[in-house]
Subunit: 196 residues, 2 copies
DNA sequence: ACTTGACAAGACTTGTGTTCGTGTCAACTT
DNA sequence: AAGTTGACACGAACACAAGTCTTGTCAAGT
C-alpha cells in the first residue's frame, strides 16, 4: 500500500530540499562549475538519476537553488521589517542589518546582490542574473510594510523611498565604507526623513 | 639651441597626452589586454621605447589613463553642479544627467563606476580598483557645492546626503530601470528633500 | 519509486611546442 | 640630449592533440 498523496508530496519536497541544500553547500565551497551531479547525489544518498528526475538537468538544479536562496533572503527581510510594528526607524534598521550581515555571511546572497563574477570560478549565472529581481522583490516588501503601517503616505513617495533605500543597501553591500551598525543607523535615519 | 624648459615641458605634456589618448582609444574598442605597446607607439608615431621612457611600463600607462579619465569625469560633474547657482534641484539634476549619459557613452567611465569585469576581456584593473576613489571624489565635489551654496546645513547632514546621492547615481548606472531623464528628476527631488 | 550499469557526445584537462609581447640594453641618428 | 632602431631574454598566452571526465539518456533490475 502506498502512502497518501499528501505524504508522498511531503516526502518529495523533503527530497528536493535535501538535494538543493547539498548542491548549495557544494557550490559555496567549490564553485558551481566544480559541482558534479554525482557528488550531489552521493552526498544526499540518492542516485544520480533521481537528480535528473527531479530537476531535469544541472541548469534546473541551479535555478532551484537560486529560487530558494532568494526566497529565504526576502523572507528574512520581511521578518526583520515586520518585527517592529509601525516604528519605521527600527524596522529599516533591522532590515538593513539583516541584509548587510547576510551578505557578509552568505556568498550566494552576496553574489545575487552584487552580480559579481566568482572569485575563483564562474558562479551561478542563475543567481547573478537575478539582481534586478531581488531589487524588485525588496521594493515590494518595503511597500508592503509601508502600506500596512503608513496609510497616510502617497504611493509614489513610498515607491521612490523604498527603491532608494533598497538601492542604497545594495550599494553598501558592494562598497562598504563603514561598519554594519553605523550604516544601518545612517540608512534608518534617512528612511525616517522620507516619511514626514 | 634647445627650446626653453617651459617649451620642453609643454611639448612633453602634449606627447604624454597623445599617448594616453591613443592608448585609451585602443583600450575602448579592443580591451586593455589586447592593447600592444607597439600599437600605441605606432598610432602616435613614436617609438615603443618612448612609451617606456614616459611611463616606465604598461601598468604605468594604465594608471595614467585611469587618472586622466577620472579627472575629466569629476571635472564634468563639478561643472554641471556649479552651472546652476544655488538651485539644488537644478544642480543635482544636471549632475545626475551628466553622469548617466557619460556612463552610457564612455565604457571606461562606466567600468570605473560599476567595477565591472570586461564583457569581452579583462578591463583595466587600474580603473576598476578606483570605484571607491571615484565615489569619494564625487562626494567631495558635492560637499564643495553644498558648502558654497547652502551654508546653513550641518556638515554631517551634507556628508550623508552627498554620499547617498552619489551611491544612488552609481546604483542607477549599474541597474537602470528608467530613462535617464526620469531618474534625474527623481534623484533631484530626493536631493531637494534632504536640504530642508 | 528508486537504483544500477551502460553508453554517446561533447566538454574539460594535460602535456607539448611555438609564438608573441614585455621590458631592457646598447649602438645609432639628428 | 632626446628620440629611434634593432637585438634579446624571459615568461605569458596560444594551439593542438591525447586522454579523461561529466552530462544527459536509456533500459533493465530491485
Amino acid at each position: 500500500m502506498a502512502g497518501s498523496p499528501r505524504y508522498r508530496d511531503h516526502a518529495r519536497q523533503q527530497l528536493r530540499d535535501a538535494i538543493i541544500g547539498a548542491a548549495r553547500d557544494l557550490a559555496i565551497d567549490r564553485g558551481w562549475d566544480a559541482v558534479r551531479m554525482a557528488d550531489v547525489a552521493a552526498r544526499v544518498g540518492v542516485s544520480r538519476q533521481t537528480l535528473y528526475n527531479e530537476f531535469t538537468n544541472k541548469a534546473g538544479l541551479g535555478e532551484a537553488i537560486a529560487h530558494r536562496e532568494i526566497d529565504r533572503f526576502i523572507g528574512g527581510v520581511r521578518d526583520a521589517l515586520f518585527a517592529h510594528g509601525a516604528d519605521a526607524r527600527a524596522a529599516v534598521h533591522a532590515a538593513v542589518t539583516f541584509v548587510l550581515s547576510q551578505a557578509a555571511a552568505d556568498p550566494l546572497i552576496k553574489s545575487v546582490l552584487t552580480s559579481a563574477r566568482g572569485g575563483s570560478d564562474t558562479l551561478l549565472p542563475y543567481l547573478t542574473t537575478r539582481a534586478d529581481l531581488a531589487l524588485a522583490a525588496a521594493v515590494a516588501v518595503l511597500r508592503e510594510w509601508a502600506e500596512a503601517h503608513l496609510p497616510g503616505t502617497s504611493p509614489d513617495d513610498v515607491t521612490v523611498g523604498a527603491e532608494s533605500i533598497a538601492r542604497l543597501v545594495v550599494s553598501h553591500v558592494v562598497l562598504p565604507l563603514a561598519p554594519v551598525e553605523q550604516t544601518a543607523d545612517t540608512l534608518a535615519d534617512l528612511a525616517r526623513r522620507f516619511l514626514d
